[in-house]
């Protein structure tokens, strides 16, 4: 019971403190704004570095450092303003089909320290950025699946040359009406052979023979699952196109997707691009101005549909699509060489190119139309209920005579320049499988982010200092020992957060501040016990020992309850609240180590094994 210094305890404490300090150190250096260049298909090699250097010199911008980082090129800058201008300069110097150029924040630590660890990542509320919660419109996903089956059925019926059928889907049910029972039964076999996802039924009514079918529950489930998966992929691609680095795109629940875009300031554009459903379709033109005018009075040929040009004038297009947006694998925007108007340059995939080649070969001299399609989702409140309305806007943006056989690569004009740029981005990134709707947005501007960091750290530092001064005044040397344990605790919280690559948020800082106030509780309990023992006449060494021993179970009990509350918070909380719960949990655990073990090692080192009459407590 002489509290002598035990070597392994000292070594353990030293090792933990040293490791903690090393892991927390990158936070001291912080992060620098950078432009990140990564390859899409192409390699980021020295030629890219040369191009980047050229672009920067031309723009009169200076990089503070250039790093080669696992196939990415990172160009660091002194401030955000230079970073923004450099991004634009670099982006215009590189082909968007080959490279993505994004803004990033990278560790400003020296190279040796970067090998050890990264700084904590800052949450959107500290760094500025956008958080979106998007809901996938599942009704629309199911609807388009049914639409696909209707198209399949129609194709098969046409191939079998059965006349007088009517195929449609309504209220989640597919139905096909036949004139003849034999035809119906033959097609039922054909339909049922092809797909296993439908539950079939037959009926007779009013002289017609019907096949009705519903999407099976398993198939609907699969449809929903794939809708959300594909939307996540598409959103990721689009975000890459927007040049946002370290985005978070995650599924939440069954129908929602969380999107976090650090550093994004133009939220209106982000919303437009993420939610956009714009795509292109290529169709042959049917008839001429006379037929088009007649079509307005309802006189539409069976193989055609009435469309409108942007100026509102009618035009008839074939029901058969030549190529859809899905078959476009690359796109870029620029100016048409001849007319100088904005143009989208499109690259088709193999199947699309073959089809385009076949159709244009047969139709040289005939006009072809480009249709710009946008699926808009409007959400309205009606009698307290959310009502979703899907509207499909289809506009013919250009009609041009086929002069030559087209295949892989061609261009489309007729759009505004921003529209052309956005459309080429959307075509590169792929279409959303089902429309999405933003149900929650949290945006923090860069100025508020900076204020939050400054105020958060100031309040943490002042709080810590106040506690140390108070403890030093009240418990004298022992109070200062508790203060030292507290400082070690804060370093360790930062080390654990950095090691876990957890995100620090403003509530997270509040959690650290709160832990600072509460973590001394363990020491207060111990010191009060030691005082009691001393008052009761116990000798100094015995009092220290008894104080630590007797307080232990109380400390454990008290911390477990706070831990329970913190874990519940973590489990149920969202976003920023989670940040508070994480730092609170980590703080409680590390404080048990520093306040009990850490302070004991220091106390033993200072007072252990000595013959003392009194203690500075």
């Amino acid at each position: 019971m002489n509290n002598s210094t035990v070597l392994w305890r000292v070594l353990l404490l030293a090792a933990v403190v040293l490791t903690g300090a090393l892991l927390a150190l990158p936070n001291w250096f912080g992060s620098d704004p950078a432009v990140q260049i990564s390859g899409r298909d192409a390699e980021v090699d020295t030629s890219v570095a040369v191009a980047v250097r050229g672009a920067l010199t031309e723009a009169g911008l200076a990089a503070s450092e250039t790093r080669d980082d696992e196939g990415r090129l990172l160009v660091l800058f002194e401030d955000e303003d230079t970073q923004l201008r450099a991004r634009d300069a670099i982006a215009s110097a590189l082909d968007p089909n080959d490279y993505t150029v994004a803004l990033n924040l990278v560790s400003a630590s020296p190279a040796w320290l970067r090998k050890i660890g990264e700084p904590m990542s800052l949450g959107l509320d500290l760094r500025g950025g956008v958080h979106f919660l998007m809901e996938v419109n599942m009704a629309a996903a199911i609807d388009s699946a049914e639409e696909r089956y209707v198209a399949d059925w129609k194709r098969e019926v046409r191939e079998e040359r059965i006349r007088g059928t009517r195929i449609q889907h309504e209220n989640g049910e597919l139905s096909a009406r036949f004139r003849d029972e034999a035809d119906r039964d033959r097609m039922l076999d054909a339909f049922a052979n092809e797909v296993f996802d439908l539950d079939f039924d037959t009926s007779e009514e009013g002289g017609g023979f019907f096949i009705t079918a519903n999407l099976s529950e398993a198939a609907a489930e699969e449809e929903r699952r794939s809708a959300i998966q594909q939307n996540i992929t598409t959103l990721r691609n689009r975000i890459n196109e927007l040049g946002v680095s370290e985005p978070i795109v995650q599924q939440q629940g069954l129908e929602r997707i969380v999107v976090q875009l650090p550093g994004v300031q133009d939220t209106a554009r982000a919303k437009d691009i993420l939610g956009a459903t714009a795509t292109l379709e290529y169709r042959l033109v049917v008839g001429g101005p006379a037929e088009w005018a007649a079509a307005e009075n309802g006189n539409v040929p069976a193989d055609a549909r009435l469309y409108r040009e942007r100026n509102g004038s009618p035009v008839l297009l074939s029901r058969d699509i030549i190529v859809t947006g899905d078959q476009i694998k690359g796109a870029s925007s620029g100016l048409d060489q001849q007319s100088g108007t904005p143009a989208v340059f499109v690259n088709l995939d193999g199947a699309g190119a073959r089809r385009m080649q076949d159709v244009t070969q047969e139709n040289v001299g005939n006009p072809m139309a480009v249709v710009y399609i946008e699926n808009r989702v409007d959400v309205r409140m009606e009698n307290g209920e959310e009502v979703t309305e899907n509207t499909k806007v289809e506009e013919v943006v250009s009609i041009a005579t086929i002069r030559d056989v087209l295949s892989h690569r061609f261009q489309t004009t007729g759009l505004g320049s921003q529209e052309a740029a956005d459309l080429s981005l959307l075509l590169r990134a792929g279409a959303l499988k089902a429309p999405v709707n933003i149900v929650e947005e949290r945006t923090v501007g860069p100025s508020l982010g900076k204020d939050n960091i400054r105020q958060g750290f100031l309040s943490a530092a002042v709080g810590l200092a106040l506690v140390i001064v108070f403890m030093g005044w009240y418990y004298r040397v022992f109070g200062l020992i508790a203060g030292a344990a507290l400082v070690i605790n804060v370093v360790m919280i930062m080390a654990v957060l950095s090691a876990l690559q957890a995100t620090l948020t403003l509530p997270g800082i509040a959690g650290i501040v709160l832990t600072t106030g509460m973590a001394v509780d363990a020491n207060v309990l111990i010191f009060e016990r030691i005082r009691e023992e001393l008052r009761a006449g116990t000798a100094v060494q015995g009092a220290i020992s008894a104080g630590y021993d007797k307080a232990f179970s109380t400390i454990a009990d008290a911390n477990v309850t706070t831990l329970i509350a913190a874990i519940v918070l973590f489990g149920m909380g969202t976003g920023p609240i989670k940040g508070f719960a994480i730092t609170l949990c980590i703080g409680i655990l590390t404080s048990m180590f520093t306040a009990i073990f850490g302070s004991r090692v220091i106390v033993n080192w200072l007072y252990g094994g000595k013959r003392l009459k009194s203690l500075p407590i």
């Binding site: 509320d125 979106f132 300031q265 939220t267 209106a268 919303k271 959400v379 309205r380 409140m381 709707n437 149900v439 929650e440 947005e441 949290r442 945006t443 501007g445 100025s447 508020l448 105020q455 309040s459 943490a460 002042v462 709080g463 810590l464 106040l466 506690v467 108070f470 005044w473 009240y474 509530p507 509040a510 501040v513 709160l514 106030g517 509460m518 001394v520 509780d521 207060v524 309990l525 009060e528 109380t554 009990d557 008290a558 911390n559 477990v560 309850t561 706070t562 329970i564 509350a565 913190a566 519940v568 918070l569 489990g571 149920m572 909380g573 969202t574 920023p576 609240i577 508070f580 407590i617």
Partner: protein
Amino acid sequence: MRTLISEGGFDFMGRRTFAYVVSGVLLSVAILAILLRGLNFGVDFTGGYTIEVGYQSAPDLDVVRDTLAAAELPDAVVQTFGTSTDVLIRMAPGAEQSNDAKVSDDVLAALATTSDEPIDMRRVEFVGPQVGEELRETGGLAVLFALGAIVVYIWFRFEKKFSVGSVAALVHDVVITIGFFALFQIEFDLTVLAAILAVIGYSLNDTIVVFDRIRENFLGMRRGTPAEIMNASINQTLMRTVVTSGTTLLVLLSLFFLGGAIIHGFALALLIGVVVGTYSSIFVASLAVLMLGITREDMMPVEKEGAELDSIP
């Protein structure tokens, strides 16, 4: 040795009338405020928009209101936030708007066109009505769940009467803290809810330290009525209670005054919770246990060390 208050046998259990009156008044005011005035829920729970913009010089709020009304964005609550140059605009979720998330863009665009100086977008929060409803549900569940989990832990670790006593203290603290927000109509958002959960953890922390000592004394002190033992226990832990609350209040005051306007509600809820929690761990929790008729025998089966202690002469 420095002490903040003179040590000694303060008769806490004898001052029940004081506790009854204080708690009775605080609880009635809190419950009345919650029932009559209700909570001023933030957009997190009601759904709607919060938009914070920064001007270079203090703007005329009426002009801001007129601008929004002219842009057909009516029913906006416009007020300053933190400083006179920061303006907070709150709007209920749209009934008419066709695309909800775009409304905030419209607000910012409308403000930008009518202002001579550049406007700094500081914060936009939009919560759809359905998300708000869900947050309200999970929030309420979280509080109940935390209470439940803690009751189970105390029951397991202590004894039924203690568990009831600690929950009485907890409910007392939570109701009074929430009542304060209702009484002064301070905005109740997600961070305040987080603070309430932290108050639950803190209040319990305090209560447990006292209970731990009560249990120890029941087993260790051979003489004394339950009331005397409780008094002794509270007095022995009083300094610790005061010092720990003091350090926690110090950091919370730092957070309240220096942490910025966004964290105000959070810091305030904790400040109230800690003050009330400290009071309740001294008066309410122990008093509740005493009223439930705790006896030495209640302690016996809980822990084995009781047997050892009894054999000491």
